[in-house]
Symmetry: C2
Subunit: 337 residues, 2 copies
Amino acid sequence: MDIPINLKRLAKDLNLSVSTVSKALHDSYEISPDTKKRVLELAKKLNYIPNPYASGLRKKKSKTIAVVIPEVADNFFSQAIHAIETVAQERGYHVLIYLSHESYDKEKAILQDFRNGRVDGVLMSVSGETTSTDHIEDLTRYAIPVVLFDRVLPRSEFAKITTNDYESAFLAVRHLIEAGCRKIAFLSISPSLSINQDRLKGYQAALEEYKLEVAEHFIVDCTHYPNRQSEMIKNLLTQPLPPDGIMASVEKLAFLTYQVCVETGIRIPNDLKVICFSNLEIASLLNPSLTTITQPAFEMGNAAATTLFRALDNKIYQSNPENLEIPSILFPRGSTA
Amino acid sequence: MDIPINLKRLAKDLNLSVSTVSKALHDSYEISPDTKKRVLELAKKLNYIPNPYASGLRKKKSKTIAVVIPEVADNFFSQAIHAIETVAQERGYHVLIYLSHESYDKEKAILQDFRNGRVDGVLMSVSGETTSTDHIEDLTRYAIPVVLFDRVLPRSEFAKITTNDYESAFLAVRHLIEAGCRKIAFLSISPSLSINQDRLKGYQAALEEYKLEVAEHFIVDCTHYPNRQSEMIKNLLTQPLPPDGIMASVEKLAFLTYQVCVETGIRIPNDLKVICFSNLEIASLLNPSLTTITQPAFEMGNAAATTLFRALDNKIYQSNPENLEIPSILFPRGSTA
DNA sequence: TATATTTACGAAAACGATTTCGTGAATGCT
DNA sequence: AGCATTCACGAAATCGTTTTCGTAAATATA
């Protein structure tokens, strides 16, 4: 069993002091070129890796960021993580990942743990239960920058990376209307999230613009009892006056809609047209191909990470928090033909 | 700007020594119940969080594991991460995530960095370029347990969590044969991976069992030039004597096959039947619904994490490394009807 | 030549928590 | 009462790096 190489070991082998070795490795002007060379050579030969806990303790920097998200099962977050990890790796940072499982309490506990130096910064998409910003402000009071992405808290003082949820929803509903829909339902989860409220407002605005009625029972919140979602959609679609268009706020509800339609014999797009926010690359391979509002997941992850690192570079945090909106793109496909 | 609470601060407020406070927080028998209560109350009130870098340095434990995977864009790894994070969270561990981007050099560099205490253990699925085990053995020489999952290195001494790739591939090809296929092609990436070799062997064995010819030009490796994969599949399918069945080793190649078929007018399943290893929940919604060999991604992630924690609990690492095989399940659907 | 400055390094003090060891006071025992 | 334990705590070393400060020797300056 090998024991790790540390500065003391290098110093002893080279007949130097620990401080000299440390300075040499940091290319300090205090150290002669000769000594630097000797040190670097031995360090390389013995494969010296600095102990991150020791230097983290001393420098009060962890070179680590945290990514806190509700779930990873979603395609959006997979792509976002991909982008984030790539940016972090380029900058020599490490990435801790945490799932809040849509629970505010868990999210809060996770953030709590960051207050004593575990991470230098945080990227977060809030849980469906999160409405308060207290737990996040707690962090920023310890000078830990936080960048929210996708699911953000509006009117908060944190940097935010979002997509144009309102406009996208508006355009999506207009797309349904132009395809002939007159009774359009809105499916969502986590109604308290601003992202969902924005989409709902876009939905409502489009209906009003076209003088269509906004019917309360066509706005379906599928948050609770995840195993009853299918049933709720079925009830919606099999009522006496069913909708002829579905706008789903999340991928999963569109898939459930597809399944319910298979079960009940409702034909897409003939009887019902479907559009949803999604990041599925193979939406075009579905039966029928699914019209999506595709969020720029990779770009948003990339922007979030870049913004965070900018905050970490300027020691001054968020004198002027940056809010960035990256537009989604509507891809018309078979489900709204 | 608040400054973090540390033991010194607690000690001062309580008129105690730092060591007494530390012991009280660890419920040491040396400390009186009264003092413990005082300490715990103040710690709670001031929201004391121990500095992980200080205690990590002292205890030589990071309470952190690393997950090293080739890509996260795949559904398999999303689900595996989900399981891993959940297990880790239960046990109070933190999860660092790293992408090797299918590069051996990157994978090696990532593992290098773990040699000085950054993590207590590693979960890994190797890159497509990885054939040597040296960089992993390096880690175990520093008493850092490694559990490989899904893409493992055969005949290595590390704990391994796999699925039954050989049998699954065999059954998949038999399924194609029973559905009427006689000219079955095998699509893969990363041919050097044992996981792919096992699948290939299963494919070959099934063909031999049914006295079908194993044609070299029906074994297509799409590893290089990712943007030529589509072209390679097209060439395969439009040759004079094209295959009537496709067995794809990874999800993505099946999707590309679908797209090529749309372009070329080849009908699935009439002209061509398709089966693939996949973790897509909505395979049944594709056009046509896709027959899959579904890998137990969540279970494998769960098993890998559990195995790693078992190794971390017994200080004795891998006196007898555990190999676990969790079977995949074949779901017959429209693409092989 | 005498003084000032630069060069190149080492000693030691941090960082915050843990742990070993030591010790005065309280308690037990005979 | 006299001795041995136990109790409850504090001092100090330790983990490995970084960084401040101090200082001999070498060089530059007047």
